[in-house]
């Protein structure tokens, strides 16, 4: 209980910092919108198939997330507040608080990007709830993996490039299952049709969160 409460306090603190600087939200939203506009101009409104559009949606979400999710730990290291935080919080509550922040950030990104993507790319789906479920569960895995990698790269010098390069192989299962689940949502409206993809995304999220909770202590203290 104490662990969850402290994670909540850390989340609130990060949210307050974000409201004051708007660094992460600006970075990921601007990246997503610029990429979306570039893609729509490049391939034309009606040229791409539903399969290609599904892939483009996840590519835009992935790279937009990469532009902002690392900031949560990079900020602590660059501003020398990481040692202060270590004095007052257990590593596990720090991970949970930061993970929650990145998850909410990703959801905000999706709430804004998704309608724009539908409008600009003339994208439509049969299974809206299937698509939303794929995005929601995918976001849990994506933000958990990204939070863990952000903690690892925060101490490195070439943080930006390293974050994307390290994240790609680790988050690849989310991308593959997310793209596949989105393609199914284009034509199918039942959860059964996307059952394998949803199971895969859920299993990935559970594995990554469990691994992060077990390993974060070493990552944070070393």
């Amino acid at each position: 209980m104490q662990l969850v409460l402290k994670a909540w306090f850390i989340f609130q603190k990060d949210l307050k910092q974000e409201f004051k600087t708007r660094y992460s939200i600006n970075a990921i939203l601007l990246f997503a919108i610029v990429t979306l506009v570039t893609v729509s101009f490049s391939i034309g409104t009606f040229a791409a198939s539903a399969e290609i559009k599904s892939s483009l949606l996840w590519i835009i979400l992935f790279f937009a997330a990469m532009s902002g999710l690392a900031h949560i730990f990079v900020r602590e290291e660059e501003k020398h507040t990481a040692d202060t935080l270590k004095l007052v919080a257990q590593p596990m509550s720090i991970f949970l608080g930061k993970f929650l922040f990145n998850f909410i950030l990703l959801i905000v990104l999706e709430i804004i990007t998704l309608p724009l993507f539908f409008a600009v790319m003339n994208f439509s789906v049969e299974g809206v709830t299937v698509l939303l479920s794929v995005l929601l569960i995918g976001s849990i895995g994506l933000s958990a993996g990204a939070t863990m990698i952000a903690a690892i790269i925060a101490k490195a010098s070439a943080k930006g490039a390293l974050f994307t390069v390290l994240s790609f192989p680790i988050l690849l299962p989310v991308l593959i299952a997310g793209i596949s689940g989105t393609k199914i949502a284009v034509y199918e409206s039942t959860f059964k049709a996307a059952g394998a993809e949803l199971q895969m995304l859920f299993a990935y999220a559970v594995v990554v969160i469990t691994a992060a909770l077990l390993l974060f202590d070493f990552v944070w203290k070393e």
Binding site: K6, F9, Q17, K79, L87, A89
Partner: protein
């Protein structure tokens, strides 16, 4: 709650890979005692302090969140440490450290001396039984230094004080001294 505390250190050493920072350090500290750690730059004073950084700590490597105000910072740390009546305690400490009226200012607007004072508020907020100070008077003006000396005198009266410093005026607040490095 009244309790007695003793710190006993035996054969303490620290390596960074093959490089030995210090080795075979021994000291004992009880309530009402203080310790000054001395040594040239790079000798391992700060490293030694960080080994024991689980208690009340002020150091140049500890920063507060500069986007938040002083009171927002103190509220966050008080909640993390489960401190009750944190607001009144924060206000009293801010006043003692000469920061009264500046609690609602963002920390990024603080001078280096004010930041150092705020670090004392942070360190004293939970009334630590052991207070560890690394370069305790850096960035402080005469008034700030005197306030810190007052805090050090009060702390060593019935609690434990450890300071890492090269300043001879600070060193005299340590009843015992250990020198680290070559």
């Amino acid at each position: 709650m009244k309790y007695d505390m003793q710190i006993i250190v035996r054969s303490l050493g620290k390596n960074f890979g093959a490089q030995k920072v210090f080795k075979n350090l021994n000291f004992e500290l009880s309530d009402g005692q203080s310790l000054a750690i001395t040594g040239p730059n790079g000798s391992g004073k700060t490293t030694l302090v960080r080994v024991y950084s689980y208690i009340g700590l002020v150091g140049p490597y500890l920063e507060l969140y500069e986007e938040l105000t002083a009171l927002e910072n103190l509220r966050f740390f008080a909640r993390m440490r489960g401190i009750k009546d944190a607001f009144n305690r924060s206000m009293n400490l801010l006043q003692r450290l000469g920061l009264d009226g500046r609690g609602d200012d963002p920390v990024k607007n603080y001078s280096s001396g004010m930041r150092q004072r705020l670090k004392y508020v942070f360190a004293l907020l939970h009334e630590p039984h052991v207070l560890i100070l690394d370069e305790p008077t850096s960035n402080l003006d005469v008034q700030g230094v005197n306030t810190v000396y007052g805090i050090m005198t009060e702390q060593k009266k019935d609690k434990i004080l450890i300071l890492a410093t090269n300043d001879q005026a600070d060193v005299k607040y340590g009843d015992q001294q250990i020198a680290v490095g070559p």
